[in-house]
Symmetry: C2
Subunit: 230 residues, 2 copies
DNA sequence: ACAATTAATATGTGCATGCTTAAAATTTTT
DNA sequence: AAAAATTTTAAGCATGCACATATTAATTGT
């Protein structure tokens, strides 16, 4: 008779799905649910924690538990290291440094860090390849004042991304997905047509508020990011 | 002296950040950590649950807890209902039905449901507008054999999405992000240039294995999806 | 009428204990 | 001796109970 937390979660989820519980509806409190499901309040709590994390319900102390008013699709994407993504797909990984310069960051880059003023940064552009074919082109800006060691790294051998992941921890990360038309140069690098639509992943990282790096990764035409929701 | 679960989580996270714990490293078991942090195993378990869900550690019964070998960027996106997204941004929402037909689904659509054979489906194309400007164009296919009521709905007044959300629960959902070049017609509808790069969100839903709907949403030029990771 | 205080209530946290699972070690079988 | 079946055991996982904390509502004081 007594339920475990997964049964409870699934049953509440079913009630939401079957419209027995409508968006905005208030659930009985944990104690009452525990009686209904013939278990302790802890077990109900465990189920509710999961439902709250998946965005199905909202919980507020004293306010109780309510079904999320406006249904959303909550999706979790794992963005891997490009080399590993390529190798996991069974392809041969290749890496090619396109350019390495110390430049003033353009407004787009400064603003992605939330900075008003452009600063001098290390800009690294590189190409990741799968089975000799272009896969992802990355255009990276590194705040070398917070990570001076990067200036001594041979970036023609290893991608800045992998060096940074091994050596420069970050505390905050912002991710941004968008689409962008290929410029002449980008089309050339990615073996794409000019004006081809490219899928773009931008990532910016900070350590305790200080900028580390921002990268715009342009994927080859046809690239897709897939996830299962719910 | 005794720690709470958030302190423990943050301390483990700090050790990973500071490279005191390297990728692949094995953590002490919950019992030992409980002694170190002067608390019960349950409290450690709670911290570890959180770390596992954020992708920082992997836990295996008997195998113990290890730091994730290949760091990934795990990001959670909440994709809202378009009307609410527009209204939340303080814009006036507009909706316009472009077409409504019963057609054989093309291979692309059949395969997104995992079906080999094309079937007859209801195809609805509609435009969502923000302050009279095109915002998102959606091209939707609905399996009307599993949802026959949709055939009686006046889709010139309400978007199929909102009707479905209110009336047709789903159990599984797949999300896909990509970029696509605007065709003449798409450019026209979205007030974009031909060949403009469009950000595309595709969502396919099922109820217990049976197809419900698949939608390709083309966002206006400049659209971005943003999330904080970690 | 308004602000400050107090009470009530629902969720959150921590601890103790027992259960479940998967890897490793052992035994049995072929 | 190798392979299959079994037992052991070391980990994480789940649950029941008691207490902490936040938020709302009611009450009291000015």
């Amino acid at each position: 008779m007594a339920s475990n937390w997964i049964d409870i979660r699934d049953e509440i989820r079913r009630r939401v799905l079957e419209r027995e519980l409508l968006p905005g509806a208030k659930l009985p409190n944990d104690q009452e649910l525990a009686e209904e499901f013939d278990c302790s309040r802890t077990t109900v709590q465990r189920a509710m924690l999961d439902l709250a994390q998946s965005g199905t319900v909202n919980r507020r102390r004293k306010g109780g538990t309510t079904i999320t008013l406006h249904p959303i699709t909550r999706t979790t994407f794992d963005i891997p290291i490009t080399r590993l993504e390529i190798e996991a797909a069974g392809h041969e990984y290749g890496y090619f440094l396109v350019s390495r310069d110390i430049l003033m960051s353009p407004p787009r880059v400064a603003s992605s860090f939330g900075l008003a003023e452009p600063t001098k940064m290390l800009r690294v552009r590189a190409l990741h390849m799968a089975d000799k074919q272009p896969y992802i082109f990355e255009d990276r800006w590194i705040a070398h004042d917070t990570t001076p060691e990067i200036l001594d790294v041979d970036l023609s051998r290893e991608s800045a991304n992998e060096w940074l992941i091994r050596n420069r921890p970050y505390s905050d990360c912002e991710v941004r997905f968008l689409a962008k038309r290929a410029t002449h140069e980008e089309a050339d690098l990615l073996a794409a047509d000019v004006d081809e639509a490219l899928f773009v992943m931008e990532r910016t990282t900070w350590i305790n508020g200080a900028p580390i790096t921002t990268v715009r990764a342009l994927a080859k035409p046809g690239y897709q990011l897939v996830a299962k929701a719910n």
